[in-house]
């Protein structure tokens, strides 16, 4: 691939199929970049001592995509050398140990992609309209990110 052809791209996807780390990392790899950083959010098997059966995610789809695009725009302003950004979020049922979100970012050098991934997941949790229901044995609970920007409970 000619370097000049490798224009920065954002890959945003909300889907109910299983997420693939290989797929997401391949999306952002670029011949002019030496670094790819990733964050994978996975379903934990417990919450405050309660056994978690699985998670269920739902989204305000169109707005969630818009908000993720805004995050990508912010990332490019803060770290102009960032090349590609991929954000895949799973919806519906997510079993324990499977990924609910994968974020991958490439950059020529590593500091930018590492910092950008951290910013990206923090901001996603604060501003993207997606909801998670934790299913326990015989009960469930709608979760609330402590980062949610209008409640920002930092509980």
């Amino acid at each position: 691939m000619d370097e000049s052809e490798d224009v920065p791209k954002d890959f945003i996807k909300l889907k109910s199929e299983k997420l693939s780390v290989d797929e997401v990392s391949e999306l952002v790899i670029s011949p002019c970049c030496g670094a790819v950083s990733l964050f994978i959010g996975t379903t934990r098997n417990n919450f405050q001592g309660k056994k978690v059966i699985h998670l269920e995610y739902e989204a305000y789809m169109s707005m969630a995509e818009t908000e993720i695009k805004k995050i990508c725009r912010d990332v490019r302003q803060k770290w102009p050398s960032v090349k590609h950004i991929a954000v895949h979020h799973r919806l519906g049922v997510v079993p324990v140990t499977e990924a609910s979100v994968i974020i991958a970012i490439s950059s020529p050098h590593r500091a930018e992609s590492l910092e950008a991934v951290m910013y990206c997941i923090n901001t996603l949790k604060a501003s993207v309209p997606i909801w998670k229901k934790e299913i326990y044995e015989g009960e469930y609970s709608w979760k609330e990110n402590k980062e949610c920007f209008w409640t920002n409970s930092e509980k």
């Binding site: 959010g41 995610y57 739902e58 989204a59 305000y60 169109s62 707005m63 969630a64 818009t66 979020h89 609910s100 979100v101 997941i121 996603l124 949790k125 604060a126 501003s127 993207v128 309209p129 997606i130 909801w131 998670k132 229901k133 709608w142 979760k143 609330e144 990110n145 949610c148 209008w150 409640t151």
Partner: protein, 88 residues
């Protein structure tokens, strides 16, 4: 002047379960603060009152906090009631 807006809660999230609310239309003044709009909605769905501090609006998919901000609504505008998020 009046403007008819669609308001709805997204997700089956807490709101739906609290008020059985999915999607409705409501006629409101074309210029209205976000807090006044909230109060109009609460008149119809009093059970929502308790989550006043938990929610924000998304007007045409842009976040708006409940407060003094003046909204200028067009007929058909989409107003979503957004409970605390938990993506990621």
């Amino acid at each position: 002047m009046c403007s008819s807006v669609a308001f709805f809660s997204v997700g089956r999230a807490p709101l739906i379960e609290l008020a059985g609310l999915r999607c409705e239309t409501l006629s409101v003044p074309r210029q209205i603060t976000s807090l006044q709009l909230w109060e109009e909605i609460v008149k119809i769905h009093p059970r929502l009152a308790v989550i006043r501090d938990q929610v924000v609006f998304a007007v045409q998919q842009e976040y708006v906090l409940l407060g003094d901000q003046l909204l200028v609504l067009q007929p058909g505008d989409e107003v979503a009631i957004i409970p605390p998020i938990s993506g990621g």
